[in-house]
């Protein structure tokens, strides 16, 4: 750090301290005014919220004018600490640290670091919610099935007929035949016997399937079976698509074939299947 940079930095700190102290002073004056005129509802003074906010506001405006950037509403923190200590601990020790202090602390933090705090609120909030909903769906389905059984047995006095549709097992044999009768070489490794081949470049094919979204009347195991069957069908479709792409380019096979499965969409509500490989023409 040379002399010039150091001078600039000292000037910056001086200006910042000036902004913070003016902001803090304004906040203190506002807080005293609120206390003097007793602007309160149910004994709770509005100054607790407004004084830190006004302090932060004044500081930010001054900082933007003088320095040209935001310095993080430090006076709001100072004012918040001051108001909390003054009103909750010195004046009214029985209240202590309660929901209002936590709430006002959140507001101050949000004003100081909007992006970070909003990010945390959204990710943590929505994450927790979807996590809980996932469990609750399981639990409610479980109890729904149990209750329905009891209802049929003791109230209707009828045999309980399971209304859950059965999932047909996937026809592996047919799928195997379909894939291997395309007159096309699907080879997962790189060697092709001793035959010569022409390289046609990399080929991709993607298929997207949506998740099953029915909520009730399906057992968890059935959902999983349906998912697996859908994925198997989609994989066959994907391979046929890849073969079509390569055939269109004049090839008759792929080597180093890879099939990948992934989750896409908002909240992972769809599956993506990608098949890729080097398209070749085998003589």
């Amino acid at each position: 750090m040379n002399f010039r940079e150091r001078e600039v930095k000292i000037a910056y700190i001086r200006e910042a301290i000036l902004c913070i102290s003016i902001g803090t002073l304004t906040g203190l004056v506002v807080y005293q005014l609120f206390l003097y005129f007793k602007i309160a509802i149910f004994g709770w003074n509005f100054g607790l919220i407004f004084a830190p906010l006004i302090a932060g506001y004044v500081e930010t405006i001054l900082a933007n004018r003088i320095i040209g950037e935001n310095i993080g509403a430090i006076s709001a923190f100072i004012l918040f600490a001051y108001t909390t200590i003054y009103s909750f601990i010195l004046k009214n020790p029985s209240l202590g640290f309660n929901l209002i202090t936590i709430g006002s602390f959140a507001v101050i933090l949000q004003a100081a670091f909007p992006t970070a705090v909003n990010f945390i609120i959204i990710t943590v909030g929505f994450g927790t919610l979807s996590y809980l909903l996932g469990i609750f769906k399981r639990i409610t389905t479980y109890f729904y099935n149990k209750l329905e059984y009891v209802y049929y047995k003791y109230i209707l006095k009828k045999p309980y007929i399971i209304k859950i549709e059965t999932v047909e097992p996937f026809d592996e044999k047919r799928s195997n035949e379909v894939i291997n009768k395309l007159d096309f070489y699907f080879i997962t490794e790189t060697g092709v016997l001793d035959k010569k081949f022409i390289n046609l470049g990399q080929f991709h094919a993607t298929v997207i399937v949506e998740k099953d979204k029915r909520l009730i009347h399906t057992k968890q195991e059935h959902i999983e079976l349906t998912t697996l069957n859908n994925l198997k069908n989609a994989k066959d479709k994907c391979l046929i698509k890849l073969a079509k792409n390569v055939k269109y380019a004049g090839g008759n096979g792929v080597i180093n074939l890879k099939i990948e499965y992934g989750l896409i969409g908002l909240g992972g509500d769809s599956y993506q299947i990608t098949a890729m490989g080097m398209g070749i023409y085998i003589k």
Binding site: G134, E172, Y185, E189, L228, L231
Partner: protein
Amino acid sequence: MILTSANILQTKKIVEYKGLVTGESLIGSNIYKDLFSGVRDVVAGRTSQYEEELQKARNIALKIMEEKAESLGANAIVGLKISYDNLGGTMGNTILVTAYGTAVKAE
């Protein structure tokens, strides 16, 4: 049935390609497992159970694949790939196990 992830067989020679064979299976999860998985994390029972489940799923996938290869008249699978993909689900417990390879005839 010889399974290998390489493209050569040391003692045998690949004579003919029979085609692509695939096998998939899904590890589901049930309500009790999910609810008490947190407890089992503490007493370290979860990992071994999940390893068992994974092994079971892998064996199913390999078995489907081998049956397909047999029906094609192959006696070995080369270029074998096994992959594990997380498909979300409650607590990310739904795992798809896929196995695929090239069915070949070797002599």
